[in-house]
């Protein structure tokens, strides 16, 4: 038993895990503060964390070669699930995002956050001696398929997230700067076409981001209430479980997408500064690990998993503070919900697994 624990300790990266534990506990503290009278939610979230850590533990003992070998299959499987969502998904708020397997609700788009980086890293690893423009374009194409499928659900937020983290992998893989510039120009030019293909509610969200106070009781309501929650937190917050915006249900989705607004209201700017430092340490540590890895697959996968989580964090906080439109995106490690928690912890598990097997894949 002691031996297993020693093995376990050897296989984890303590600084990274410590940072994550801090973030996890902040999330749990915030969640429990606003759910004092519904212990089920807290118990469920602890279960989610537990399941996530279990998969994390399995993954750190797994040889990443298996992931490498199965990367395309996992990716295709994920695409299949996305197609299935389109036909059999559970519909809520006009969008189909979940598949119901008995008691478990699975959100395939969350799985993409792991399988897509796997797939892209696999692609570059297989062509590591010949990373040509063609490979970059192929990578873009591979990214486009799931992004489009998720966009059809419709889930604008997640599709942008996936596209963003996918493109960052290509960036890390060394896509030439001129290509980056060209594609940026093309994106700007084509943005009107994207605009025209947006759903009415998505357009409204974008418009309201520009000035949420134009329609305070309609489409701007969520943004305003969220900004009020953050702003009224002040320097040191209203105190744990004292957030009036949260407790009186002015804040929508306080347990999931808007949990950071609750945190801001109750712990103030001081609390936010602390958690931002943790986020920075988080991504810094992952980049250090990625830099120290030896093979293309490990490097790209590690960095992109980290970037993927970080992007989700950024977009979520930008959304609740009124910087970007409200898109419906959980905050990794903090929001209430199983899929996001498990996927995030699994990503960390994969990173640590890659870290343990630096040499195994290098050959």
């Amino acid at each position: 038993m002691l031996k297993i624990l020693q093995q376990y300790k050897k296989r984890i990266d303590v600084p990274l895990l410590a940072v994550i534990f801090f973030i996890l506990s902040f999330g749990l503290i915030t969640l429990s503060g606003s759910n004092l009278d519904s212990p089920n939610i807290i118990i469920n979230q602890i279960t989610n964390i537990f399941v996530g850590l279990l998969i994390f533990s399995i993954l750190i003992f797994t040889n990443p070669r298996i992931l490498f070998v199965y990367a395309p299959i996992l990716f295709l499987l994920c695409l299949l699930l996305l197609v299935l969502v389109h036909f059999f998904g559970v519909e809520s708020n006009g969008a189909k995002r979940w598949l119901a397997f008995g008691a478990i609700n699975l959100q395939p788009s969350e799985l993409l956050k792991v399988t897509l980086p796997l797939m892209i890293a696999w692609l570059y690893k297989n062509n590591q001696n010949n990373i040509s423009l063609g490979i970059h374009f192929l990578a873009v194409f591979i990214i486009f398929i799931p992004v489009y499928l998720v966009f059809l659900q419709p889930d604008l937020g997640t599709s942008i997230m996936i596209a963003l983290s996918g493109l960052l992998i290509i960036f890390l893989a060394g896509i030439p700067w001129r290509l980056i510039l060209t594609s940026t120009v093309i994106t700007i030019i084509s943005s009107p076409i994207i605009w025209m293909n947006l759903h009415a509610y998505q357009k409204n969200r974008v418009l309201n981001m520009l000035d949420p106070f134009t329609d305070p009781l309609g489409t701007g309501y969520h943004t305003i209430q969220s900004m009020i929650a953050i702003g009224s937190g002040g320097g040191f917050g209203k105190g744990w479980a004292e957030g009036s915006q949260t407790n009186l249900q002015f804040l929508p989705e306080a347990n999931t997408d808007f949990i950071f607004a609750v945190y801001s209201e109750e712990f103030g700017f001081f609390g936010i500064a602390i958690i931002f430092i943790l986020y920075l340490l988080f991504i810094y540590r992952i980049f250090i690990l990625a830099n120290h890895m030896q093979d293309t697959f490990s490097k790209l996968l590690t960095a992109s998993l980290g970037v993927s989580i970080f992007s989700a964090i950024f977009v979520n906080i930008a959304m609740i503070s009124g910087l970007v439109p409200i898109v419906g995106l959980p905050l990794p490690f903090m929001s209430y919900g199983g899929t996001s928690m498990v996927v995030s912890l699994a990503s960390i598990g994969i990173i640590m697994s890659l870290n343990n097997h630096k040499t195994l894949i290098a050959n």
């Binding site: 001696n129 702003g231 009036s244 009186l248 002015f250 990625a290 009124g322």
Partner: protein, 603 residues
């Protein structure tokens, strides 16, 4: 691309990316800094206004009591049936069910017109004042009405029904005009949460004292406006209790003496001008208004012939008839005209000088030899015709003015009328006609244009009874038990010579003695009273036409008037009575006054 080069590019790109991500976090932090630190006050205020509501708690109205603390206006705790806010839309259906199942009729006022005081309560009243039977029946069937609850509320209650209604006045729901008034007076804070306001009588005149100050409850509400908890509370300050000068025992006796007759009565203490009784008949039940009066009831109250809402004491205008004669006599004496022993021989006819016109005395054949004392006692018209002509209108009017006729007494009741003292100038202005000598003659006997309120008559009589009286008549005695000092009448006390007054008073004392116009009243009296009867004609008789009471319709019959004070020495009470269409003053109005005198002086 070899592995080494890839590693190099990858490291570079990682550094760039880390820089980019740090920059992004910095942007986020700046935005949050802006929200939390720079805009903190604004968002904190927004957060509070989101969730914290201040709810006014209406104060209890002050009580209105008589001088002996008999309650005239009270607050009654009643059981009310209240509907959940969520069920407002189903009110019509619930109304039907209540009617069919429990036979409870709910009030008609519009509940959807949400009053501020109801807004953050979770229920709103739909029926006040449930009877015990209704309560029992509702409790037994409550399971049928999950959207209704039984609650308790204070409502205004007038325990004496129609009695004293014009003194007490009434309250009614605040209407748009009231809101304008409240805003203009800057009293909006004072009325937060209140649904009613004084509309007449003491309820109106002392509204600012009776109303009280609302309290506030600070509550926290959630996004659906449900009350979560009370954060703080400031209790309302109830309105001040008011003791009126009214003696309810006397008031009740006066009302009973009046019976079904129309008219007005006012009794004043001549020592201090306190109003002891104040009757205006017909009257109304102030409770009718408390929750909105029905159209039928309102129309009934304003029916032309009865005018129940008219406060006849202060706003009823009547020709004074012969009750004016003591004051006319005083004017003459004051001007050294017709001083005893001057006398005339009255044949019952008075021929206007330089004219063929003849005025008749009320008594056929006249009163024989009449001096100014007897002229009052027997109400000799002939004596006063000549007196008036010699005296002239300006000198007469000066006395009437000194005794408070033709102007408001400034009693503490709204809507007082000032009456009318006619003059040459007035007639020119009003009708653009010249003044005729004959008008002077009939003015001297209280006919003509002169109009008085019963209050003015009583006030003038009080000044006659107590020459030192300089306080205006009033209804307020104590506020919250503290005696109120009364303002002086701005005209001050009258300043007529005692010897002149003595003759007038002697004439008045003799009115209830043998030969007087109300001799029968004095027969069984343990005290001496000074009085004057009056009969006000409502239409002019043509020359040689006779007044025949029996063939006249009621509405054209003379008004009966009576003024009196007693005891004649050191008077304790002054009374003025008018019975509309009552006929002769002495026989109709006199006995009513006498009953009150008996009750007051022989208690």
């Amino acid at each position: 691309m070899d592995n080494y080069r890839f590693k190099y590019i990858f490291k570079k790109r990682l550094q760039i990316l880390f820089g980019l991500l740090t920059f992004l976090l910095f942007i986020l932090l700046s935005k949050i800094f802006y929200l939390q630190i720079i805009q903190y006050d604004r968002f904190n205020a927004l957060s509070k206004s989101n969730s914290i509501k201040v709810i006014p708690i209406p104060p209890k109205r002050g009580l209105i009591l008589d001088r002996n603390n008999v309650i005239l206006a009270d607050n009654k705790l009643v059981h009310s049936l209240e509907i959940d806010r969520a069920s407002f839309s189903g009110l019509a259906e619930i109304k039907d069910r209540l009617k069919n199942k429990l036979n409870i009729e709910i009030d008609t006022f519009d509940i959807t017109n949400k009053r501020i005081s109801y807004l953050y309560e979770n229920t709103a009243p739909i029926a006040f004042s449930l009877t015990n039977k209704q309560i029992a029946s509702f409790v037994a069937h409550q399971y049928l009405f999950p959207e209704l609850t039984l609650k308790q509320r204070f409502i205004r209650d007038y325990p004496n029904g129609k009695s004293s209604a014009h003194i007490i006045g009434h309250i009614n729901r605040i209407n748009e005009k009231d809101i304008d008034f409240i805003k203009k007076q800057n009293l909006t804070r004072q009325y937060l949460g209140s649904s009613h306001i004084g509309k007449s009588g003491t309820e109106k005149f002392y509204e600012n004292l009776i109303q009280g100050t609302p309290g506030f409850k600070e509550i926290e509400v959630d996004a659906r406006q449900n009350v979560i908890r009370t954060l703080g509370e400031r209790k309302p300050v109830p309105g001040k209790d008011i003791n009126l000068t009214i003696d309810y025992r006397l008031q009740k006796i006066a009302e009973n003496a009046f019976g079904e007759k129309k008219g007005a009565l006012i009794a004043i203490d001549p020592e201090n001008a306190e109003v002891l009784a104040y009757v205006s008949q017909p009257t109304f039940n102030p409770s009718l208004f408390t929750n909105g009066i029905s159209h039928e009831a309102w129309a009934d109250l304003n029916e032309k012939s009865s005018k129940a809402m008219l406060d006849r004491v202060t706003a009823g205008l009547y020709p004074p008839g012969s009750t004016l004669k003591p004051f006319v006599a005083l004017a003459a004496l004051n001007n050294n005209i017709r001083k005893p022993p001057f006398s005339i021989f009255d044949s019952g006819r008075f021929k206007m000088p330089n004219s063929s016109k003849v005025f008749r005395d009320w008594k056929r054949g006249g009163h024989g030899t009449v001096d100014i004392i007897k002229a009052i006692t027997v109400s000799c018209d002939t004596f006063f015709y000549g007196l008036g002509l010699e005296l002239g209108i300006p000198k007469l009017n000066k006395v009437l003015n000194d005794f408070g006729f033709g102007r408001k007494t400034m009693i503490d009741i709204n809507g007082e009328k000032s009456g009318l003292i006619a003059s040459k100038e007035w007639k020119k202005k009003r009708f653009n006609q010249r003044w005729y000598a004959g008008e002077t003659a009939i003015t001297a006997i209280g006919q003509g244009f002169t109009l008085v309120t019963p209050l003015q008559l009583a006030n003038a009589t009080a000044k006659l009874a107590n020459p030192t009286l300089s306080i205006k008549p009033h209804l307020i005695l104590n506020i919250d038990g503290i005696k109120q000092d009364q303002e002086k009448d701005e005209w001050g006390k009258q300043s007529y010579k005692d010897e002149d007054l003595k003759w007038v008073k002697e004439g008045m004392i003799n009115v209830t003695k043998k030969g007087g116009t109300a001799a029968f009243l004095g027969k069984k009296s343990n005290y001496q009273m000074a009085s004057k009867t009056g009969t006000a004609q409502l239409f002019g008789l043509k020359k040689d036409e006779e007044y025949n009471e029996d063939i006249l319709p009621d509405s054209l019959k003379d008004h009966a008037l009576f003024i009196t004070y007693a005891p004649a020495i050191n008077p304790k009470i002054v009374i003025a009575v008018i019975v509309e269409n009552g006929g002769h003053g002495g026989s109709v109005a006199g006995p009513i006054a006498k009953e009150i005198l008996d009750a007051y002086l022989e208690k």
